[in-house]
Amino acid sequence: MAAVEVEHLRVSRGGRLVLPDVSLTVEHGTVTGLLGPSGSGKTTLLRAIVGVQVVEGGRVTVLGAPAGSPPLRARVGYVTQAPSVYVDLTVRENLAYFARVVGAPAERIDRALDVVGLRAFAHRVVRTLSGGELSRCSLATALLGEPELLVLDEPTVGLDPVLRRDLWRTFRALAAGGATLLVSSHVMEEAERCDRLLLLREGAVLADETPASLRARTGCERLDDAFLALVEA
């Protein structure tokens, strides 16, 4: 069974039908990129998979259980696009609190800090961090529980190329360790680093394949062009 199975998902937000009828799967131990123009429904789809989105119809099964069901709360990590940490606490205080909530041992705090490269910022109050540091702090809190499925909404926005490369290495390492990652992005060069790509436009899945097959199908060498070819078709 796949890590994520979405069948005929239908979601409206604010009176607008964002996802009319989406079906897709995400395989275990892979890094899957969710790509699409802004407003295409990426965040709504991720929210439905995490189980924080009110859905109108369809079925979302995550790690064999209905999305959002209580046993999954310890097994799925979710990082929202807007960093959701306490800005009046230090980085370490934030991690210490979330570690207590997910029941993670204290050693994982340092490990999570190392993964996102924030060890030197541990004692900084979050409010004083830059945008990139802030989003890494938010990511670190999601790593504490060592989730089997990690859902990341635009985790590399506002990061410089070095950090972006390092984070993608981290994602690959987590997947190599058996975790499943679903990462949304609108940077096509990041698509290159994914095992599989899901292309979303206006709530419809345009592509669900590997970067290589997407290239072959569209006849475009650059994924950017392949993406444009599909989106503007």
């Binding site: 989105q53 009110v54 959002g68 310890a74 979330f98």
Partner: protein, 244 residues
């Protein structure tokens, strides 16, 4: 629910307050200053000061915690931390009790400082047991917290949340009997006052300050606890795992 998460949440809330020393200073210093102001405004009427001043010690925690909680919970909602917590293995009760524990501790300190100033320095006459007054003050703080938590669901911005103080708290202050005894109020207002939680909070305090009335105090405290439980239950329904 889990004791580990509840305690961690209480400590986290206290840590956030500690990072905001100006708010703490206001919470701890404004009430005794107002009691002092009251004392000198009613310089010629010591009986009025004695009647109103004592219960005021136990009313301040109610208003402070109402405002602090409604803003704090609104921030949890608007910054996305509530959504994150709701996607984690945290029971709603863990969050509610965590907030309750933290603010009860702050209220205990606030009421002690105010009581120390009022009964010690300003010569406020209290015939009853001061520890009962303090205990009721902490109970009122948790009542204010639970109401603040509930109404925070109806505010989108901090401007709106602050307006809930005049909207929800001021009418209760006017009608609870603190300023004018309820039996001297218009009968309609008197009838309305029965339905307001602060009326019972004040009634218990007034008896505790005057001494005696053990049964009445227990009844009033029970009503306050009941309303608190009701407000927390209503508040829990506004903490949604799934949002539109």
């Amino acid at each position: 629910m889990s004791r580990r998460i509840t305690v961690a949440t209480a400590l986290r809330v206290l840590l956030q307050l500690r990072r905001d020393p100006r708010t703490l200073a206001l919470v701890f210093l404004v009430p005794p200053m107002l009691v002092a102001l009251f004392r000198y405004v009613f310089d010629g009427q010591p009986a009025t000061f004695d009647r109103v001043g004592g219960p005021m010690v136990g009313i301040f925690p109610f208003t402070s915690m109402f405002v602090v909680t409604s803003i704090a919970m609104l921030r949890e909602r608007t910054t996305g931390t509530l959504e994150r917590l709701m996607s984690l293995p945290l029971a709603k009760l863990d969050l509610l009790l965590g907030y309750g524990l933290a603010f009860a501790a702050v209220a205990a300190a606030q009421a002690s400082i105010t009581a120390g100033v009022a009964f010690g320095l300003l010569g406020l006459d209290v015939r009853g047991d001061v520890s009962v007054v303090l205990l009721l003050a902490v109970g009122n703080a948790v009542l204010g917290m639970s109401l603040g938590l509930f109404v925070s669901a109806f505010a989108r911005t901090e401007f709106q949340a602050v307006q809930f103080l005049p909207a929800f708290v001021f009418p209760q202050l006017l009608l609870c009997g603190l300023l004018v005894p309820r039996d001297r109020m218009e009968s309609v207002l008197d009838a309305v006052s029965y339905a307001l939680p602060l009326t019972w909070a004040y009634d218990g305090l007034a008896h505790a300050v005057a001494g005696g009335g053990g049964f009445t105090i227990a009844r009033d405290a029970l009503i306050v606890v009941g309303v608190t439980a009701l407000a927390l239950a209503l508040g829990a329904t506004t903490l949604r795992r799934r949002t539109p």
